[in-house]
Symmetry: C3
Subunit: 138 residues, 3 copies
């Protein structure tokens, strides 16, 4: 069994945004030399997500509005913010969008359907955070 990992550094200039990291994951898979296995991609921070969906700007604007409705950025709303943080909402948004994805690796490629793309979802940006790619197989 082979294993490989790579950490990506992200720095999103706004509080909330989505970044397509599919090419980075494909590059890591190429570097790993793994042809059959599983590829885990996860946010290493608890106010961010990794998820798979469509790379369509209207959808991303819809997600932002919807997440803002489900968990508004309102610093006075969250007990968590009494610790000196103002990102209580981000911890909620991240639970909706998820921490991680696991993608099959088949014949050396991410085994994807027609529209699947991997995104980093930032909900408390304007600082550096990491994404982990871990691939095991052979």
């Amino acid at each position: 069994m082979k294993s490989y990992y790579k950490e990506l550094w992200m720095e999103v200039p706004t509080r909330m945004d989505f970044v397509n990291i599919t090419r980075d994951v494909e590059r890591a898979l190429g570097e790993s030399g793994i042809r059959e296995g599983l590829c885990l991609v996860n946010a290493m921070h608890i106010s961010a997500s990794v998820f798979i969906n469509d790379d369509e700007p209207g959808l991303h604007a819809d997600y932002k509005q919807w997440l803002e409705e489900l968990a508004p950025h309102d610093p006075s709303r969250y007990r968590h913010n009494r610790t000196g943080e103002d990102n209580g909402d981000a911890h909620h948004k991240r639970q909706i969008m998820g921490r991680e994805v696991v993608v099959a690796v088949t014949e050396g490629r991410l085994h994807f359907g027609p529209w699947e793309q991997i995104f980093y979802g930032e909900f408390d940006g304007r600082r550096r955070k990491r994404v982990l790619i871990k691939i095991i197989g052979e």
Copy 2:
């Protein structure tokens, strides 16, 4: 290390419904010959889910109503639908229910609790879509 994959074709005749695919996954596991490992089951389409919960019709009706409240099928509501789609809601429902599950394989069986069943969740049906089963182990 062994690996095995299988794609299931789904065609759900309504916009939203849930299909129990536990037997299909068990069959794929039998075909794989793998006795210890991990089994990934994911929707290959971004307006569908794979999730684990109870096979109880009342619960499924509850889920449908709840998802409709959280992300109504209202074509005018979503910017995504300006691309000519009418399935913006489906991309939201799928994020609540999730893209994938990872199930442990122990002694040649899905290592499940007493009520766990695997479902395909369709949110934009009436066309053919795929589910991927990928199993690695030995």
Copy 3:
């Protein structure tokens, strides 16, 4: 390839609460002897979750309030409860918080960011339930 599993028994004395199980997972990883691989941690029950977030009591209180707003414990609200259950809400809360996490194992440790902690999320407590830890790798 090596594989290892362990089931943890949980008994939460209230209907809803979160229990930090990070040390239990680290202990299982030590017992496994696995240094590179993937570690799955999942609830074996469909009214409970395993998720990764911050170990901060204010945040946990926020989550409970938010989940109660999204899926209130109101036995008359859910068709599922006509089966004699009163936990329809718990099946909904579990979908928001997720069934499972997959964590990378690198150099014999859970490959975590600075604040990641693993929690068992109970939404229908006051009885014994299990969490599964399954680790594969070498």
